[in-house]
Symmetry: C2
Subunit: 346 residues, 2 copies
DNA sequence: TCGTTTTTCTAGAACGATTTAGAAGAACGA
DNA sequence: TCGTTCTTCTAAATCGTTCTAGAAAAACGA
């Protein structure tokens, strides 16, 4: 708690120059071991807690942190195991570089506030996790000259990104459904705009997130003659999927397949079927996207994308000392499980 | 991308002093609107991105971030909806104070590394989420004079904390089981030490986390004549609970009730029962702890603690300008659902 | 022994802002 | 008209480091 103890105080107490104390902490081979021990002992005695983080950051130009920019409230961001997996991968690499992660939520209700947060953030680099294109925070990062990597290819084509081919991936899923004879789908879309107490049906141009748009395009491409409806139960979460599926299942006009644009939503849909005594893959087909850990035990057919690797790769690209623009496309894979089956003949 | 543009550059270009430029950003009412506009326009023109975060932090003594210290890898930390809920609450308050969250994992394998990370972190305050007592990072925080709040009462009794009465809460759960006639329990414990490919049985003094110890004490207190065994499937996660429960269910010596020390583990146990055709509450009782969102739809009997409020309260205590030691005890509540039922008579 | 290299340490200038105290001029009340 | 109060702006100090260049002393090679 000894306040006001700086590198200078210690230097004076030991009788050396501030630079030497600094070296004692940062470049141990620049001074004799004996002196170093003496300095460290004195520092301990005076209650000096080591070089101040902000001062060091200012002088050395390294903040020792990378920012992670999220759309909307943190709560929703983390409710998806996909986000957690990504973050885990990123954190792994960050740890290697002894760098921390600065979470910076960009509330959609307060654009200016989000921009300010980014402005004030002491970071060396930034990962854009799920930010709508054109957010002013992006301009600020650019102005500040902060290396930035997005997890989405479409939103910021000019930026560095680590992403998947959303259209191709969704097309694989669509082709699978096509082979099974499905021609009538409902797609569960997450929709930040509608707080979504009640699920709503969307038109194509009401879909907010451009990755979602791409996935829908992929489905359309591989199912050109199908009827595709879009329904949203709100934020990307289990409950939204549940609610949206309830609406669909209880309507007069059931599709033969439900496509969750994320696994959590698809799992919610499976839950809705379960409580209605419907068996996924037999009575109705449900498929998802991402292959989160819970997908396999649930028997959910889905598109696997290497989530953790995505995080790791973003970390590598960001923390690579020789940062340059890089664009990495990761592979995806269709995983067929029990939740998808042939469309009923009628 | 215009590098090297500082407040000074802008000041010179406009023909005012650096202080005025600073005021243009921070204290708009300290200068005429006309001049302010002129400064901001020139800044834009020169590609000045606004006051540098590190410099501002140094001079003003405010980093604009609170640290969140986690034991172990981030991945495990986030795999529990309990952690996510806490973080969401904390983030909500942080947002109010336009403060970011700096995630600082403290790898158990690299104590020194964790300590360094805390040393280097530019933070105004710190929340200790789940850190074993005596970690050197704590001493560093103390030395740096950084306000610190723990989410556990037991680990750092001298610190500020926002917590629940673990013993009392667990005793409520135990009393419920006692009323139902259970006298033979298995407790699922998370155990960071054992990487836990295979579940293992633990003795009481092998339990690492002191909150777990308290919960076990609470159970013992309310079930003085019961047999209580401890089993761990590894880290605190669904899969660990699943694996540990599999071991228990497939053994010759089944208990009448399984207590998950967290809901995720209890849900894993329910999954293990399901695949064996056993019905929770009828064939075997399963109870949990925390009341995460998934507990209710699963019908899991559990102890509710106000997770999000915990996060919010920690945030309030930390970001309150007049920080003093404060110790807040939050209420808990027993929620009886379908997963608990009477012990079979034999 | 003498020049050269290596080791060990230091002085002083950044880093990029904010803050305090105060100056110059405009507006005000009587 | 004169003293007083605002308003608007500035000079200079300061925050706590790290870095560059170089000095002094020690070790080295021949």
């Amino acid at each position: 708690m000894a306040a006001g103890v700086t590198i200078k105080t210690v230097a004076q107490a030991v009788g050396v120059s501030p630079s030497t104390v600094s070296n004692a902490y940062n470049k141990p081979d620049q001074l004799s071991a004996a002196l170093r021990d003496r300095i460290l002992a004195k520092a301990q005695e005076l209650g000096y807690a080591g070089p101040d983080a902000s001062a060091r950051a200012l002088r050395s130009g390294k903040a020792g942190a990378v920012g992670v920019l999220f759309t909307d409230k943190l709560a929703y961001a983390f409710s998806d195991p996909y986000a957690v997996g990504f973050l885990a991968g990123l954190a792994e690499v960050a740890e290697e570089f002894s760098t921390s992660l600065l979470l910076t939520p960009l509330p959609s209700s307060d654009i200016q506030g989000g921009a300010n947060a980014v402005q004030q953030a002491a970071i060396d680099a930034a990962a854009i996790f799920c930010v709508t294109a054109g957010h002013p925070a992006l301009d600020i990062l650019k102005q500040r000259g902060i290396p930035t990597v997005s997890t989405s290819r479409s939103e910021y084509p000019a930026l560095s990104w680590v992403a998947i081919d959303e259209v191709e991936a969704a097309a694989k899923l669509g082709a699978h459904l096509a082979r099974l004879g499905h021609r009538d789908l409902v797609v569960l879309v997450d929709n930040t705009e509608a707080p979504g107490e009640r699920p709503i049906e969307l038109s194509f141009d009401e879909v907010g997130c451009s990755d979602c748009e791409l996935r829908i395009q992929g489905l359309q491409k591989s199912l050109p003659d199908a009827r595709i409806r879009l329904v949203s139960g709100g934020h990307n979460a289990f409950d939204s999927g549940l609610r949206a599926a309830e609406l669909v299942l209880d309507s007069q006009d059931r599709p033969t397949a439900i496509v969750g644009l994320s696994d959590v939503q698809a799992l919610g849909a499976m839950q809705a079927m379960k409580t209605r005594g419907l068996i996924p893959g037999r009575d109705l087909t449900v498929v998802g996207f991402d292959d989160i850990p819970a997908a396999q035990p649930a028997g959910l057919t889905t598109i696997r994308q290497p989530i953790k690797d995505k995080g790791r790769m973003v970390g590598r690209v960001l923390l690579d000392p020789a940062f340059t623009k890089r664009q990495v496309l990761l592979p995806t894979e269709l995983l067929v499980r029990s939740s998808s089956g042939p469309a009923p003949r009628n």
